[in-house]
Structures are given as structure tokens and as C-alpha cells.
């Protein structure tokens, strides 16, 4: 079994050390990269050979969602498929929503236990991971929706009946495998359709696509 390769980006060395001990204590994952400088992280991101990047808040020159946005963009442009999990000192739905909008797969607070962190890491490495659509919808209602771009709306209007069904099932939070099975089609076709829409809309994650399509269909 291949180990999950984890990268840590946080300017606080002690936090990195703590996260590193939790991850390295697991048999199926290990920390292969630690970075303290956000600018250098963005420059080197395309070359990272990691499955998950854990990104902290305490960056010197770049902070919060701006850093996540640049990092996610750099990864997408390099076709690097590693997932981003961002964290902060405390968990809050607002911070989680902002992180997701910026390009994180999900968000966790340092006030959550190590067990939750490990579970989240194992979940986000699944290529078709999305946050629970109900939770996303509720955050979108409270903090404002993510507007669909014109390109996305155009692309959605060009979908045939089967493709539309795929997207409808995607919006319910089902995995690619489950959608493929339900519609009796190849899983790769489902994945390919979703990836095409993400690219056409200029987005960086499935969560963002789910939010944008939901907002457009309301």
C-alpha cells in the first residue's frame, strides 16, 4: 500500500512539528515536505509530489484566503492534483466557507482533535471528494453564494440530457462511482465531465463547482 504523502505549510515551526507528529504516527501517511515561506511555497507548488497540503494561517507576507487562492491556482495550472486542507486556530463556518471558496478541499480548526484531522486527510485524497452539499448550501445562504460565470452557464446550457443528469446527481453529493453506476456509464466519463466544467468555469475545486452550479440553478 502506498503511503499518503503530506506537505505542511506553516510559518509556525511548533505547529508544524505537532501536526507532523500526528501524521507520522500513522502507518499509512507521512510528512514529506515542510515549508515555512508562503512565497516559496507558491513558486515550488507545481513540483510538489504530495497528495495533501496542510496549509496554516500564520504566514508572514501572505495570509488566509489570498494565499490559498494563489496556491490553488498554481497547482491547477501545473495540473498538480494534490488537495489542500487549510486550518486556523479555531473552527468557524465562515472561515470554512472562505477557505472552500479560495480553493481548499476543506477546513479544520486546531481546536479539533488529531483524529478528525486524520479522517479528513483520508477523505480528501479521494479524487471525487466534496463537502456535504447540505452544509455548503447552508453556508452559501448565510455568507453569500458563489456566482456562476458566463462560461459555466454557457457550458451548462450545452449539456445533453445524460450529462445534465450527471450534474444533478453530482449536486446531491454522490461519488463519481455511484453516479456512473446509477446512469450505467463509465466512471471516467463522469469524472471527465466534472473536470471539464471546473476548467471551463475557471474554478479550482469540485466544491466551488457545486456552489456555482447550485447558485446558477436557483
Amino acid at each position: 500500500m502506498n503511503d499518503l504523502r503530506i506537505g505542511l505549510i506553516d510559518s509556525n515551526e511548533l505547529v508544524r512539528s505537532g501536526r507532523s507528529m500526528i501524521i507520522n504516527s500513522q502507518a499509512d501517511m507521512r510528512v514529506v515536505l515542510e515549508e515555512s515561506d508562503p512565497v516559496s511555497a507558491i513558486e515550488r507548488a507545481p513540483d510538489y509530489l504530495v497528495d495533501v497540503l496542510l496549509v496554516g494561517p500564520s504566514q508572514h507576507s501572505l495570509r488566509g484566503k489570498q494565499f490559498i487562492q494563489l496556491l490553488a491556482q498554481a497547482l491547477v495550472e501545473a495540473k498538480n492534483e494534490c488537495a489542500i486542507i487549510s486550518y486556523n486556530a479555531f473552527f468557524s463556518p465562515k472561515l470554512r466557507y472562505e477557505a472552500i471558496l479560495a480553493g481548499s478541499q476543506d477546513f479544520i480548526g486546531l481546536d479539533s482533535g488529531g483524529k478528525e484531522l486524520l479522517t479528513l486527510i483520508r477523505n480528501v485524497v479521494k479524487r471525487d471528494f466534496v463537502v456535504d452539499p447540505g452544509a455548503l448550501a447552508s453556508m452559501s445562504n448565510v455568507f453569500g453564494p458563489l456566482r456562476a460565470s458566463n462560461q459555466l452557464e454557457l457550458k451548462l446550457s450545452e449539456l445533453n440530457a445524460i450529462q445534465t443528469e450527471v450534474i444533478e446527481l453530482f449536486l446531491t453529493g454522490q461519488s463519481d462511482q455511484a453516479i456512473a453506476k446509477q446512469l450505467e456509464m463509465a466512471r471516467t466519463r463522469v469524472t471527465q465531465l466534472i473536470d471539464t466544467l471546473i476548467e471551463a468555469a475557471g474554478l479550482t475545486s469540485r466544491n466551488q463547482l457545486l456552489l456555482a452550479v447550485s447558485a446558477g440553478s436557483e
Binding site: N12, L14, V15, S17, G18, R19, S20, M21, I22, N24, S25, Q26, S58, A89, F90, L110, D111, G113, G114
Partner: protein, 422 residues
């Protein structure tokens, strides 16, 4: 009453009354109308009485109306003077008195209509017509009545508006103090906002440090479970993280405490003016006076004096009824300073009880003895005495039987001590 006289509060209204009476008398004497002098004298009396004995002024309004109608050489001018008195009543009188003032003014307007319009030839001489029928005389009565009524009503409304202005906006001095205070408060808020921002940054750092402690200890738990030899390393890291958090916490603690100290130290004797305004707004007429040549004090002394007066005012507010007058007197002598904070709370309280029909039996020696320091909270007085003792001062708190309470703070060598300190 005696206190009112001693306080010379009658002085300004007497000056107004004197001027009004003189102007009125002068105008009457222009036409050698000696009977008109009765009106002038009564006008002066009515004006003086508006401040303290409004009922007398209200009673005199119809009399003045009659006199001006019957004897004045210049009824229009005399009516203006009478309107001024009605305006003053509207300023100083109670709501009940104001209602009676309106009734009295209306009766006066009717009597003026009758005497000047119906029986007299006031309008005829002014407009140059002959009142040769009952209908014309009745019209003259109506016109004079309405003119007088409108004039008196206007005076009453203007007086009431002035009173409302005094109540809600204050005198120009109060407005000025309020503006100064608002400016200072704005500055203080800006300063506090700045402090809050710094405290926010410090607390953010602290959160990071604490998060690091939590992260390291939690990571340690996982590490020790898989490799017990990691325990020492984990403990070292935890200790390091704990120390960092503690030092950040210390910075925040020091900062917050230093901010509070600098705030308190900023109070000066000059700031008492604002405090007096605030107490006036609360319903305690507070007047600050200073005698002698003041000298420079250091920040600690200023704060000490401010604190003494502040506590004394708090004490009055706690025990004395609304309407109590407070005098804060600074007596500067060659090398020392005496601060007196006097109030007439007992007098006001007794007056209120009397007006409710309660019998007041005066006071006795026992009352004097009992209340020597009982008005002041013991701990507060002790703290003020300790504070004054730093500058070789002493504080005496006494009750002036039948009048109120007096706090005296005496600093015999304040100037020398200030010079030594500098």
C-alpha cells in the same frame, strides 16, 4: 431664602428689573406722566419676583395691565415691557404657575381690550378714525384684545422655548463644555481603538502560541503511542511552546495594565469643569470657584485633588436629593491649597418635605454628632485621607446642621512639595 440672598442669585434678575423699571419710568417722564410711575415701579417688582416668587408676578400681571391701560403715556411700549415679564415667568415658573400665568395674561388682554379699545381711544388716535358707533367700539375691543393676546402668547412661547433650550441644550457655557468634553471623548475613543487594535494583534499572537502548545502536546500523544522514546523530545517541544505562549501572555498583560494606569493619571483639576457640567446635567447645580493665585502642581497632586472632589461629588449624588446645590471652592494661599466641597442637600430635602406637608423639627446636637462622617462611606473617606496624606494634607468631613455637608481638604505645603518633586 437667606442662602439664596447670600448666594447673590437675585443679582442678575435685579439688574434686569432695575433696567426695565428705569426705561419704563424714563419713557413716562418724557411726557411728565407721574401716574405712569406706578406702573414702572410695579413692573420692577414683578420682574424681580419672577425668579423666586412667580406667584407674585402672576398676580401682578392684571394689575399692570390695568395701570398701563389707565395711566401709561405709551401703552404699546408698556405692553411690550409687560410681555417681557410674561416671558420671564415662562422661563422660571413651574408648569402649574405657567398655566396660571396664561390665564392671568388672557384676563389682562381682555381688560386692555375693554379699557383701551372699547372705552379708550387707543386705536382711534393711532389710526385716526372716529368711534361713533357701538359696532366700531366693539371692533376696537376685539382688535386690541387680539393684539395684546398675541403679544403675550408670543412672549410666553419665546420664554418657554428659551427654557427648553436651557434644559436640553444648556447655556452657551454648557454647550462649550459639552463640545470640549465631546472632543476629549472622541480623542479618548480614538486612543482606545488604537489600544484595542494593538491588544487584538497581541491576542492573535497569543492564540497562535497557545495553538502551538495544543498542537505539540497533541502530536506528542500520537508520537509517544507509536514510539515511547519520543517522550523527551515531545516534552522539550511542549515546554518551549508553553514558554513562548507565556511570554506573549505577559506582553498582553503588561500592555493592558500600563494602558489603564496612563488613563487614570491623565485627570487634572481643569477636568473638574467637565465634571461640574455633568453634575448640572444630573440635576445638581454645581459651581466651581477659585480664589487666590494658583500654582503649578505635579500630575500626582492633580490626580489627588481631582479624586477628592470626584468622590465628594459622588457622595452628594448618593445622599442628597435632586436640586441640591454644590459649591467646589479652591482657596489658594501662599504655599497651600484648601478645597471645599459644600452642598445644601439637607436644606433641599427639608424644603421638599415641607412642601409635602411634613413637619420639620429642626436639628439637635445629637444629629450633629451622629452624622459627622456617616454621610461618607468610611472606606472611601479613609482612602481619600491616605491619598491626601501623601502630600501632607488632611481631610475633614463635617455636616452643617440644617444645611448640608462639607468636605474640606487642606494641603498646607503643596507648593513646596510640588517644587521639591520637580
Amino acid at each position: 431664602m437667606i442662602r439664596w440672598i447670600l448666594d447673590r442669585k437675585w443679582l442678575s434678575i435685579s439688574m434686569y428689573a432695575g433696567m426695565l423699571a428705569l426705561v419704563s419710568a424714563g419713557s413716562e417722564l418724557l411726557k411728565q406722566n407721574y401716574l405712569g410711575l406706578f406702573f414702572s415701579i410695579l413692573l420692577g417688582v414683578a420682574t424681580i419676583a419672577t425668579r423666586k416668587f412667580a406667584w407674585i408676578s402672576i398676580g401682578l400681571i392684571p394689575v399692570l395691565g390695568l395701570l398701563l391701560s389707565l395711566y401709561s403715556a405709551f401703552p404699546s411700549f408698556a405692553a411690550l415691557e409687560l410681555a417681557f415679564v410674561i416671558g420671564l415667568i415662562a422661563v422660571f415658573a413651574s408648569d402649574r404657575q405657567r398655566i396660571w400665568g396664561s390665564i392671568s395674561s388672557t384676563i389682562t388682554a381682555v381688560s386692555m381690550g375693554l379699557l383701551l379699545g372699547y372705552q379708550g381711544n387707543y386705536l382711534e388716535s393711532m389710526l385716526g378714525y372716529q368711534a361713533n358707533s357701538e359696532a366700531v367700539r366693539f371692533n376696537s375691543l376685539t382688535v386690541v384684545f387680539f393684539l395684546a393676546f398675541l403679544l403675550f402668547a408670543l412672549a410666553g412661547v419665546l420664554g418657554h422655548l428659551y427654557l427648553l433650550r436651557l434644559r436640553h441644550i444648556g447655556s452657551p457655557q454648557d454647550v462649550a463644555f459639552s463640545a470640549i468634553r465631546a472632543g476629549k471623548l472622541r480623542l479618548e475613543i480614538a486612543k482606545q481603538n488604537e489600544r484595542l487594535e494593538i491588544a487584538k494583534d497581541l491576542s492573535e499572537l497569543l492564540v497562535q502560541k497557545i495553538s502551538a502548545v495544543v498542537s505539540v502536546t497533541e502530536g506528542g500523544r500520537y508520537a509517544i503511542a507509536s514510539d515511547p522514546s519520543a517522550a523527551e523530545r515531545v516534552l522539550d517541544r511542549s515546554h518551549e511552546a508553553g514558554r513562548a505562549a507565556q511570554s506573549e501572555l505577559r506582553r498582553l498583560y503588561d500592555y493592558l495594565n500600563s494602558a489603564i494606569i496612563s488613563d487614570v493619571a491623565s485627570f487634572k483639576i481643569d477636568d473638574l469643569g467637565e465634571l461640574a457640567v455633568a453634575y448640572r446635567e444630573l440635576g445638581f447645580n454645581t459651581v466651581i470657584s477659585s480664589q487666590g493665585q494658583s500654582f503649578e502642581l505635579n500630575a500626582g497632586m492633580e490626580l489627588c485633588v481631582y479624586k477628592i472632589v470626584f468622590e465628594a461629588l459622588q457622595n452628594v449624588r448618593k445622599h442628597a436629593p435632586l436640586g441640591t446645590e454644590i459649591g467646589v471652592d479652591f482657596l489658594w494661599v501662599e504655599d497651600g491649597l484648601q478645597v471645599l466641597v459644600k452642598d445644601n442637600g439637607i436644606e433641599v430635602s427639608n424644603r421638599q418635605k415641607q412642601s409635602l406637608g411634613e413637619a420639620i423639627e429642626g436639628y439637635d446636637a445629637n444629629e450633629d454628632f451622629e452624622s459627622l462622617v456617616s454621610e461618607f462611606d468610611g472606606a472611601t473617606l479613609a482612602a481619600l485621607r491616605d491619598r491626601a496624606a501623601i502630600y501632607k494634607g488632611r481631610i475633614e468631613a463635617t455636616r452643617v446642621a440644617g444645611v448640608g455637608f462639607t468636605l474640606s481638604a487642606i494641603f498646607p505645603n503643596l507648593k513646596s512639595l510640588a517644587a521639591q518633586g520637580n
